[in-house]
């Protein structure tokens, strides 16, 4: 079970990242759950200052940009 967290205060890019991540997880055919982290203080606890960010199993994979579908797939698989 992969735990995917999307960090972001709710801007357009954050929603885009969530879409891409869910699509990536589905195409990989793995079990996953997605959580949206919107509260700033929680986002800070990950050490992320530039949203959106993608966290897989507690590890920050990317911050500050929306990666491509292929990149997200790799990040989830690692």
């Amino acid at each position: 079970m992969k735990k995917i967290q999307i960090l972001g205060t709710g801007c357009a890019k954050c929603n885009k990242l969530q879409e891409i991540s869910e699509q990536a997880a589905k195409e990989l055919g793995i079990a996953y759950e997605v959580e949206k982290v919107k509260e700033l203080n929680k986002i800070m606890d990950f050490g992320v200052m530039i949203t959106p960010a993608l966290v897989v199993d507690g590890e920050v994979k990317v911050a500050g940009k929306v990666p491509s579908l292929e990149e997200v797939k790799k990040m989830i698989q690692e």
């Binding site: 700033l40 050490g47 200052m49 530039i50 949203t51 911050a63 500050g64």
Partner: protein, 432 residues
């Protein structure tokens, strides 16, 4: 429960129904105000979209792609030199975020993981107040003095507010988040000076294409005015060369994009706008299909345009409806405006600051609203007070700030902004 989910649409439908039911169509004041809104929107479309906003979007897009937030943040880390930290945080707003949804996380990060409360507050204030698009449009529509006063005022302001916050709360040590800052590594693809030239050329195109006709017919300003399109063309040509040699766009694409614009410029020198538009279209076509950072540049610029233009159109229509064009009245009578914020009294300045602090201005909409207010008799001082207090603060963002640094500090911060905007407004109003 049926109504638990459905009450929102019901409220909307009822509200809109009531507005139209009681719509005062036919009353001279209202009809006139609708015409004013349309005139104002047309004036913006004629004067400000092509030459001013379009290049400004390209600049904002370029900033988003080529200036990395992490390169700025390294001056704002926990071990940063304090003097540099204040300096960087007060000006970095101009080259970073355009909307507050990126400013707030950076603010929280500087506060909890980085240089601390003072620089964080300075950044929080300067971020939305001095972004490039806002300064450019202010100077263009409301006049150079207000544009410069806004930029300079905002930078000084943010340093003073940061220092005062730091002094008030210097005894208090917050528990730093024990997380490492995660910063995307900036990819260095070309030396800094090449980027600087690239930005300078774009700013040059923006400035000279918008060079307004001076009143005197002699002197330096007039000479620049009479050569403005030649200078703009030269800057555009240089930009094409920069894109060719340093940004890796292929030469035939540059050729295809610039030749139509150049030909039209030579055939119809009386209509520089057409040539300018063709050039912009050419640039859009080649960057949007280039891949890599050039495509990213276009998609960021396009993103800003999509995000800001609808808001600005809406803001212009509302401002026109309520306040009319300069010299004309909208729905609100001029006397109300000049009574509340006319002249340069302390009350006019205070009222403008408080109103600005709590009101929410979508990006750039403060400009048409202020234009309407000034046209109806608002003084220069209160106008600056509103510009300084307005975009940086709004009720929704106060709530977010409160969740990061607590109620007491937020109240102090808001009070500081209001008091200082009032004072600045009075000084500016006495000078101009």
């Amino acid at each position: 429960m049926f109504w638990k989910n459905e009450w929102k649409p019901l409220v909307w439908i009822t509200g809109i129904f009531l507005i139209f039911f009681y719509l005062p169509v036919g009353m001279p004041r209202f009809d006139n105000a609708v015409m004013e809104a349309l005139y104002l929107a047309r004036w913006y479309a004629e004067e400000h979209v092509l030459l001013c906003l379009v290049p400004a979007f390209f600049i904002a897009g370029a900033i988003a792609v080529f200036v990395s937030e992490s390169s700025v943040m390294k001056y704002l880390g926990p071990t940063a030199n304090k003097v540099i930290a204040y300096g960087v945080s007060s000006v970095s707003g101009s080259i970073l975020a355009v909307c507050s949804c990126t400013v707030l996380p950076l603010f929280a990060g500087i506060y909890r993981m980085g240089a601390g409360l003072g620089p964080a507050t300075a950044f929080l204030y300067s971020g939305p107040a001095i972004n490039v698009l806002a300064i450019i449009l202010t100077a263009r529509v409301l006049g150079l003095e207000l544009g410069i006063a806004r930029a300079v005022g905002a930078i000084l302001f943010s340093i003073v507010i940061g220092l005062v916050m730091h002094l008030i709360y210097r005894k208090e040590e917050i528990e730093k988040a024990n997380a490492m800052m995660h910063m995307p590594e900036p990819e260095v693809t070309r030396p800094l000076w090449q980027n600087v030239i690239y930005f300078a050329l774009m700013v040059g195109i923006l400035v000279f294409a918008n060079w307004s006709k001076p009143e005197a017919v002699t002197g330096v300003w007039h000479i620049i005015y009479s050569f403005k399109w030649i200078i703009t063309a030269a800057a555009s040509l240089s930009l094409a060369l920069v894109l060719l040699f340093w940004f890796g766009l292929s030469w035939w694409k540059i050729f295809l994009a610039s030749v139509p614009a150049a030909v039209i410029a030579l055939l119809f020198p009386q209509h520089p706008m057409i040539s300018f538009t063709v050039g912009v279209i050419g640039l859009s076509v080649i960057t949007s299909t280039a891949g890599g950072e050039n495509q990213e540049w276009f998609s960021q610029s396009w993103g800003f345009a999509k995000q800001i233009l609808p808001l600005l159109l809406f803001g212009v229509l509302i401002a026109g409806l309520l306040l009319g064009r300069p010299g004309h009245e909208g729905i609100i009578p001029s006397e109300w405006v000049s009574n509340a914020v006319g002249g340069n009294s302390i009350w006019a300045n205070l009222f403008a600051s408080v109103a600005g602090a709590f009101m929410y201005f979508a990006t750039l909409t403060e400009v048409p609203i202020l234009q309407g207010l000034i046209g109806n008799g608002m003084g220069n001082g209160p106008a600056l007070a509103l510009l300084l207090a307005g975009p940086a603060l709004s009720l929704p963002n106060m709530l977010v700030i409160r969740s990061v640094m607590g109620t007491k500090k937020t109240v102090v911060y808001v009070m500081l902004v209001i008091v200082m905007s009032t004072i600045c407004g009075m000084i500016f109003g006495a000078m101009f």
